[in-house]
């Protein structure tokens, strides 16, 4: 089989390859990506802390995968549609999904998926069943094609998702119909407790694209410059009507699968220590610092500013009262079936009865 392309410009030690794209020589774009990656990591840490103190529900952190999400968020156009999986807060924040919305969702409130920003209003909500979202992205892309719009659907998934039929069916139809869609695999090496090597016998996940007749390639997912560059190419191809691309981004899930998981049960400390040496934020900071574009003072200012923003977002989130009980029955159907109206009345009657009897309903 032919060797698939693999792209890396920024090595783990912060060295930039000589063939790196021209834009990576400039300070501003790299600083912007760096700031966003740090913000994402701090946001993640904040949510994990909220979960540990019982103020939010189960959460899936993106620790270690910030470069992929930030690249997606920085490269998509506002009019494109993002179809995420559940470890995508980095890209979602950049699409305009607010911190409160993300906090609301993981905090058990449907309003967290009611994105208000114009750039995110057509984006799909976080997808929990694995790989099903890949087909939604193909449907969105089909709509673009039918209407002759030069927009792209971008969808993400983990390495485990590539074992599911939905993923393969999505690649297949995207190839058959040459849809304007970009598939991004966050290959973080672990599907909860199942390592990549026993997930699939193929040497790469990118080669699954070949069976569908579409280009597939690997990227160092901890190199934000490489991910941006290859995404640019894939997005351009799709926008020009030249069809879909599959990008396998190689990274590592530094955190637990979710806050309900304990990864020490199934993987070694040594493996995780090794992975920390490869992580995406330090290498970019090393590059920027080496160029004199970053220093401790700026780092502290960035962290202080981010912590303030996070704190304010948490305060706004915690000030939002739960929805009224009757909200349970809203948005099940656009127009209310009589049966649902009766069931709502039954619930409200129960609450009224309990209120008069002084019994708390929760």
């Amino acid at each position: 089989m032919q060797d698939l392309p693999f792209t890396r410009f920024l090595a783990a030690n912060g060295q930039l390859a000589s063939d790196a794209p021209a834009w990576s020589a400039e300070s501003q774009p790299l600083q912007q990506l760096y700031r966003q990656m740090v913000l994402t990591r701090l946001f993640d840490q904040k949510i994990v802390a909220l979960q540990r103190t019982g103020r939010i529900g189960t959460f899936a952190p993106a620790l270690g995968q910030e470069a992929i999400g930030v690249a997606i968020g920085s490269r998509m156009q506002a009019e494109d549609v993002f179809v995420p999986y559940y470890r995508d807060s980095a890209a979602q924040l950049m699409r305009g999904v607010s911190m409160e919305e993300i906090l609301l969702y993981w905090g058990g409130d449907e309003r967290g998926s009611d994105y208000r920003a114009a750039s995110a209003v057509q984006d799909f909500p976080v997808c929990v069943p694995i790989a099903t979202q890949a087909l939604h992205a193909c449907g969105v892309a089909t709509a673009f094609r039918i209407r002759g719009e030069h927009r792209v659907a971008v969808t993400t998934c983990g390495d485990g998702a590539t074992s599911k039929g939905d993923f393969l069916e999505a690649l297949n139809v995207a190839g058959a119909w040459q849809l304007p869609v970009v598939f991004v695999i966050n290959n973080n090496q672990w599907a909860i407790s199942v390592p990549r090597r026993i997930q699939c016998a193929a040497p790469t996940l990118a080669q699954k694209a070949l069976g569908a007749g579409i280009p597939g390639e690997q990227v160092d997912g901890n190199d934000v410059i490489a991910v941006c560059e290859r995404l640019d190419a894939a997005l351009q191809r799709a926008r020009q009507g030249k069809g879909p691309t599959l990008l396998e981004c190689l990274t590592y899930r530094l955190g637990d699968h979710t806050t309900a998981d304990d990864a020490s049960r199934y993987r070694s400390e040594e493996e995780v220590r090794q992975a920390w040496r490869e992580e995406p934020i330090v290498r970019l900071r090393t590059l920027l610092a080496g160029r004199g574009d970053w220093d401790e003072e700026r780092e502290q200012a960035l962290v202080a500013d981010a912590q303030l923003r996070l704190q304010q977002a948490v305060e706004r989130f915690e000030a939002i009262a739960p929805r009224a009980p009757e909200a349970l029955f809203e948005h099940v159907y656009a127009s209310w079936p009589q049966a649902l109206a009766e069931q709502r009345e039954t619930l409200l009657e129960r609450l009224r009865r309990q209120a008069t009897q002084g019994v708390a309903h929760d």
């Binding site: 549609v81 179809v83 449907e110 309003r111 998926s113 009611d114 994105y115 209003v121 057509q122 799909f124 909500p125 069943p129 099903t132 890949a134 087909l135 939604h136 992205a137 193909c138 449907g139 969105v140 892309a141 089909t142 709509a143 673009f144 094609r145 039918i146 659907a153 039929g165 939905d166 069916e169 999505a170 297949n172 139809v173 058959a176 809203e330 948005h331 099940v332 159907y333 656009a334 127009s335 079936p337 009589q338 049966a339 649902l340």
Partner: protein, 328 residues
């Protein structure tokens, strides 16, 4: 406007033509629906009339068809997806149950899923294995879905237009054994029928017969036989499986006090059980007899040599009616 006779199958085709003509957002997708016009020919002529972009022959993957339809629907299109036979729909269940049914709810209405799943249902056409299922109850159990079963050309036309117009996902199940039976005059006037109402096919005051889909054939025959004996049966076509039009069912049960429900599907966990329970809750004191169900036994639809034993049968319906009439 000219009036001519249409079979149920032709009425489906007519409604699709009308919907695609009236709304450029309506698109069709499925297996063999384009140049072949569908294995039953329900989509005949649509590709020629509306082009390849709006009538899409898909790769052969039911789950993919459903997932794609969800993406298109979220973008404001009105996909009408065909599953070639209801017995092949199980591959698409995750997409329909976990996504189509709840996209509106989980986004608080920001996104919605106005798609229609068309699938031929039911036994009685001597088809191969996995081509004779009646699994409407699987979908009726899912909040956020509507389930509709037409049983005449006129209702197929009006209900399909209503389903395509509806802002939520509708499972539209077409009884194969009615496809070519009893053509009736139909005016292509674009009139929608409501998706939450029963149709009273025959009025009567002695007992109520409730059925839907193909089983209405035997149910109406039983009513005719009862009429010959001077017994007036009210026959209700449920049509809307989810949500149930309980008001109409309740009013009829109150009037007659005697109810028989005829269901082609196996008895356990079926719609007939649901109707029974709802009526007992509402009209217990006005009932003159226990409600009887005539259903298939809890067995897979058999291959066709013994298929008649599986189907609802007039004598069996009459026997249930007699038990209900003789009671008290």
């Amino acid at each position: 406007m000219t009036e001519r006779s249409y079979s149920l199958l032709e009425a489906v085709n007519l409604a699709l033509h009308r919907a695609m003509h009236d709304d450029p957002n309506v698109v069709l997708l499925g297996e063999d629906i384009g140049v072949n016009g569908g294995v039953f020919r329900a989509t005949l002529g649509l590709r020629e009339a509306f082009g390849l972009k709006r009538v899409m022959d898909t790769p052969l993957a039911e789950n993919m068809i459903a997932g794609l339809s969800i993406g298109m629907a979220a973008q404001g299109l009105r996909p009408v997806m065909e599953i070639q036979f209801l017995g092949f729909i199980y591959a698409a269940m995750e997409q329909l149950v976990s996504h189509a049914s709840r996209l509106r709810n989980r986004t608080c209405g920001r996104l919605s899923c106005p798609l229609v799943v068309r699938a031929p249902m039911g036994a009685g056409i001597r088809a191969p294995e996995h081509h004779s299922e009646s699994v409407e109850a699987l979908f009726a159990h899912i909040p956020g879905l509507r389930v509709v079963v037409p049983s005449s050309p006129a209702r197929a036309y009006g209900l399909l237009l209503g389903a395509i117009d509806d802002p939520d996902p509708v499972i539209f199940l077409e009884p194969t054994r009615l496809y070519r039976m009893n053509p009736q005059p139909l005016i292509d006037d674009g009139r929608r029928l409501p998706l939450d109402s029963c149709f009273t096919l025959r009025e009567g005051s002695d007992l109520t017969l409730i059925s839907w889909g193909g089983a209405l054939v035997e149910t109406l025959q039983a009513a005719e036989r009862l009429a010959e004996r001077g017994i007036a049966a009210e026959v209700i076509d449920l049509a809307s499986i989810k949500p149930l039009d309980l008001q109409t069912l309740e009013a009829s049960a109150r009037k007659t006090g005697r109810v028989v429900i005829v269901q082609e599907a196996p008895v356990s966990g079926g719609i007939a059980a649901d109707i029974c329970a709802a009526l007992y809750e509402r009209v217990w004191f006005e009932l003159q007899a226990p409600i009887m169900r005539v259903c298939a036994p809890d067995i897979p639809p058999p291959l066709y040599r013994l298929e008649p034993l599986y189907m609802p049968e007039v004598g069996e319906i009459l026997a249930a009616c007699e038990r209900v009439l003789d009671f008290g």
